[in-house]
C-alpha cells in the first residue's frame, strides 16, 4: 500500500489534523509553563512569558520525582506480571478454542473499581502487605492481565496451526513452541499489549489511592495534592499532568515503528 501520490500533501494534512486533534494536550503542556493565575485567565493567553516555577514547585517542594519512580515500578511490575500470565493463557485459549477463560479473566474489570477498595485493603493489611509495591502490582495486574489477554487473542487466532504442528514434529513441548516459535511470530501483538498494559496501569489512580503507602504513592495520586480549597494550583497541576503524560508518549514513540505493515505469517500463507 505504498502508492501514495502526494506524500507531502498527505503529511501536511495529517500534521494539521493532528495539531487540532491534540489541542487539549497542547493546552495542558503550555499551561504548565504559565504562572498559576494565568492558566484560567480569560481571554486565554496564547502569548505569555514562560516560567519554570511550576516544575520548580513540583520537583523542588514535593516528592514528585519519587512518586514518578513509584509509578514506574508499579506499572512495569504489573505489565510484566500481566504479560507473563496472559501470553500462555492466550495461547491455550486460542489453540484449544476455549472461550470461557477469556471471559473469566475479565471478571475483575466488570465490577466497579470501588468494589475492590475496601476488601483489598483489608486483605493486604491482614497479610502485612498494606502500602507495599507487591500489593499495588497485584492490584494493577488485575487490570493489565485481561487487557493483554484480549489484545493478544486475535494475534494468536490469526496464526496458522501448521506452524505449531511443525514445531511438534520437531519434538518441542508446548512451552518451548510458545517461546521459540509463536512469540517471535506475533511480536507486534506483544508490543501492543505491553504498551496498553503499561499505559493503563500508569494512569490508574483509584487502587493506588487506597492501597499505596507513604513510600509507594504514585505520581497520579500525588497530583491530586494540587487541587484544594483556597487555591487550586492549576499551574503545578498541569505541570504534574504533563510529566505524567511523558513516559507513555515516549514509550509509544519508541515502539510504534514496529507496528509496520506486513507481518511474517503473510509469508507462510503465501
Amino acid at each position: 500500500m505504498n502508492d501514495v501520490r502526494h506524500p507531502l500533501l498527505v503529511k501536511a494534512a495529517f500534521s494539521i489534523g493532528s495539531l487540532l486533534f491534540l489541542f487539549p494536550i497542547i493546552w495542558m503542556a503550555l499551561s504548565s509553563f504559565k504562572s498559576p493565575l494565568d492558566v484560567t485567565a480569560y481571554p486565554p493567553t496564547l502569548i505569555f512569558s514562560p516560567t519554570l516555577e511550576n516544575f520548580g514547585e513540583l520537583f523542588g517542594r514535593t516528592d514528585f520525582l519519587h512518586n514518578t519512580w513509584n509509578s514506574f515500578v508499579v506499572a512495569s511490575g504489573s505489565t510484566l506480571l500481566g504479560l507473563l500470565l496472559a501470553t500462555p493463557a492466550a495461547f491455550a485459549i486460542s489453540w484449544h478454542r476455549m472461550s470461557w477463560p477469556a471471559t473469566v479473566s475479565l471478571f475483575a474489570r466488570m465490577a466497579p473499581g470501588t468494589l475492590f477498595l475496601l476488601p483489598w485493603f483489608i486483605m493486604f493489611s491482614n497479610i502485612g502487605l498494606s502500602g507495599s509495591f507487591t500489593a499495588l502490582i497485584l492490584a494493577h495486574a488485575v487490570i493489565t492481565m485481561p487487557l493483554a489477554l484480549w489484545i493478544l487473542l486475535p494475534y494468536f487466532d490469526g496464526m496458522p496451526r501448521e506452524v505449531v504442528e511443525s514445531g511438534q514434529i520437531d519434538g518441542c513441548g508446548g512451552l518451548s513452541i510458545l517461546v521459540r516459535i509463536v512469540i517471535p511470530m506475533i511480536y507486534p501483538g506483544i508490543i501492543v499489549a505491553t504498551i496498553m498494559s503499561f499505559v493503563f496501569s500508569w494512569n490508574y489512580f483509584l487502587f493506588a489511592l487506597a492501597l499505596s503507602g507513604f513510600e509507594t504513592k504514585t505520581a497520579i495520586v500525588a497530583s491530586f495534592n494540587f487541587i484544594g480549597e483556597g487555591t487550586t494550583n492549576w499551574g503545578a497541576l498541569m505541570a504534574a499532568a504533563t510529566v505524567i503524560a511523558i513516559p507513555p508518549l515516549v514509550l509509544t514513540f519508541i515502539v510504534q515503528r514496529w507496528l509496520v505493515a506486513g507481518l511474517s505469517f503473510g509469508a507462510v500463507k503465501g
Binding site: L117, F121, L209, F224, G228
Partner: protein, 429 residues
C-alpha cells in the same frame, strides 16, 4: 507510730510519682505518627511549620495531603477497615460528626485532655459554640482548628462606577444586579456555587435571612416552608438571571477564580478564600467584604458559620502521641502563627490579640474580613441542609438538586422544594 512512719514513707514515695505526672512535651520522643489532611487553606498554611512540632516533641510526622474528594475516599477506606495506618486526621463535624461517632471512628479525647495536656493549653479558651460542635454524648471527639463561613464579597469600584449603594437588604440583591448588568456588560453581576452537593454552604444565609428554616416548627425536615421557598427562589433566580453561564457546575474553585480575576461584581463565598482573592493586587484596592445582607422584612441576619477540626482515630495505636499533635496545632501559639496566613482562629484570645489586630489592619479588606468573621461567629449557624443525624451528605445532595432545578428553569421554587419533602423526612434520623 508505725502507721505514721508508713504514711510518711508513702507520701515520700508518692511524691515523686506525682511530680512525674507533670506534663512533658518530649514524652513520645522518637515516635512517628501518621497525619491525614484535607488540602484546605489551613493545611497549606500549616505545612511549612510542621517541623516545629517535631523539634518540640521529637515526634516525627508522616503527613498525607489530598484534595477533598480523594481525602474522603481514602479516609473512609482506612477507617472502615479499622486500620491503624492513620493516627490523626482532619474532620468536618457539621457534616460527618454524628456519622463518624456512630461508627465509632473518633477516639474520645476527654481522658487525654484530663491527664495528658500541657498546663497552658486552655481548652476553654476555644470558642464554646465551636467546641461543642465536636462533643457528642459527653465525648469530646475533635478540636476546632479554624472558623469560616460564606461572606459577601463585592466590588466597590464597580458599585461606585455604576452609582449604586451597597445593598442593605438581601432582597435588594436582584435589583442591584440588574443595575450592574445594565451599567457594565463586561462583568457578571453575581456568581455563586451551583455544583451538586456544594450549594448549601452559600445558600443557607439566604434561607435564614428570609425567615425560613430547614425544618418545620415541630421539628420535621422540610423545604416546603413559605419563607424557605422565598430564600431558595432568591438564590436560584439570582444565579439564573445574573450569574455566569455554566453555574450549575461551579463550586468555590470557579467562583473564586472569577472573583480574583475581576470578572464578577458580587458573591457569597467562603471566608477561607480571602487570601487567594487578595493575591491579585487590584483586588486589595477594590474588594469589599461584609456579612450577607440581612432580610428586609424579617431583619434577620443568620449566616452560616462552620469549622474544621482535628481528631484522633479510634483505631490508632498511638493515641497519646496523636493527642500531642492535636494540642500543639490548636494551641495559642500555633493559631497565632496560622492567623498570619489568613486562618481565622477559633480562640478569642488569639482573635483579639494585638498581633492579629496588626495583621488585619494592614489593609481594608482584611479588617472588614475580621469584623465579618467576628459577627458570623456570634450570630451564625452550622446547619445548611435539612436535619439528619447520619445522612447529612444525602440531605445536602437533595438540596443541591432542588436549587439546580430552579437555576436551570426546570421548576419553580415552590414545586421543586415541596416535591422532596418525603425524601428529606425519610433520611431524618
Amino acid at each position: 507510730m508505725k502507721a505514721i512512719a508508713l504514711s510518711a514513707i508513702m507520701t515520700l514515695a508518692v511524691g515523686p510519682v506525682l511530680a512525674q505526672d507533670a506534663f512533658d512535651w518530649r514524652k513520645h520522643d522518637g515516635q512517628t505518627i501518621n497525619l491525614m489532611l484535607n488540602n484546605t487553606a489551613w493545611t497549606q498554611t500549616l505545612r511549612p511549620i510542621l517541623d516545629q512540632f517535631t523539634e518540640k516533641t521529637g515526634i516525627k510526622l508522616r503527613t498525607e495531603v489530598f484534595s477533598e474528594e480523594q481525602y474522603r475516599t481514602r479516609l473512609n477506606t482506612l477507617l472502615q477497615a479499622k486500620s491503624s495506618d492513620v493516627d490523626a486526621f482532619m474532620t468536618l463535624p457539621s457534616r460527618e460528626g454524628p456519622m463518624f461517632q456512630k461508627n465509632g471512628w473518633y477516639a474520645d479525647l476527654t481522658p487525654f485532655l484530663k491527664s495528658s495536656t500541657s498546663p497552658d493549653y486552655d481548652y476553654e479558651g476555644i470558642s464554646k459554640s465551636l467546641r461543642e460542635g465536636g462533643v457528642f454524648d459527653g465525648a469530646i471527639t475533635s478540636i476546632p482548628i479554624n472558623v469560616e463561613g460564606p461572606l459577601f464579597y463585592w466590588r466597590r469600584d464597580v458599585f461606585e462606577k455604576c452609582n449604586i449603594q451597597k445593598p442593605e437588604f438581601l432582597e435588594d440583591l436582584p435589583a442591584v444586579a440588574a443595575k450592574i448588568k445594565a451599567c457594565d456588560s463586561s462583568i457578571y453581576p453575581w456568581a455563586a456555587r451551583g455544583l451538586r452537593g456544594t450549594v448549601g454552604y452559600p445558600l443557607g444565609g439566604f434561607i435564614y435571612n428570609s425567615g425560613g428554616d430547614f425544618k418545620t416548627p415541630d421539628g420535621k425536615a422540610s423545604l416546603c416552608i413559605p419563607e424557605t421557598i422565598k430564600g431558595l427562589q432568591l438564590y436560584g433566580e439570582l444565579l439564573r438571571e445574573y450569574g455566569p453561564p455554566g453555574a450549575t457546575n461551579h463550586t468555590y474553585i470557579q467562583v473564586i477564580d472569577l472573583l480574583a480575576q475581576g470578572r464578577v461584581a458580587m458573591t457569597n463565598e467562603s471566608s477561607g478564600d480571602m487570601i487567594n482573592v487578595l493575591k491579585r493586587p487590584e483586588r486589595v484596592e477594590d474588594i469589599g467584604i461584609a456579612v450577607l445582607p440581612k432580610g428586609k422584612e424579617t431583619g434577620i441576619s443568620k449566616p452560616i458559620v462552620i469549622n474544621w477540626a482535628v481528631s484522633v482515630s479510634n483505631y490508632s495505636q498511638k493515641k497519646d502521641a496523636a493527642w500531642y499533635f492535636l494540642q500543639w496545632v490548636t494551641s495559642k501559639e500555633v493559631q497565632a502563627i496560622l492567623a498570619d496566613g489568613g486562618i481565622a482562629p477559633p480562640r478569642a484570645s488569639v482573635f483579639e490579640s494585638e498581633k492579629f489586630a496588626k495583621w488585619t489592619n494592614e489593609n481594608r479588606p482584611r479588617s472588614e474580613w475580621a469584623k465579618a468573621i467576628q459577627e458570623i461567629s456570634a450570630t451564625g449557624s452550622p446547619d445548611y441542609q435539612t436535619p439528619s443525624l447520619t445522612r447529612t451528605p444525602e440531605a445536602r445532595d437533595i438540596l443541591s438538586m432542588v436549587v439546580q432545578q430552579i437555576v436551570l428553569g426546570q421548576a419553580d421554587a415552590k414545586t421543586a422544594a415541596c416535591a422532596v419533602t418525603e425524601q428529606v423526612q425519610a433520611i431524618q434520623n
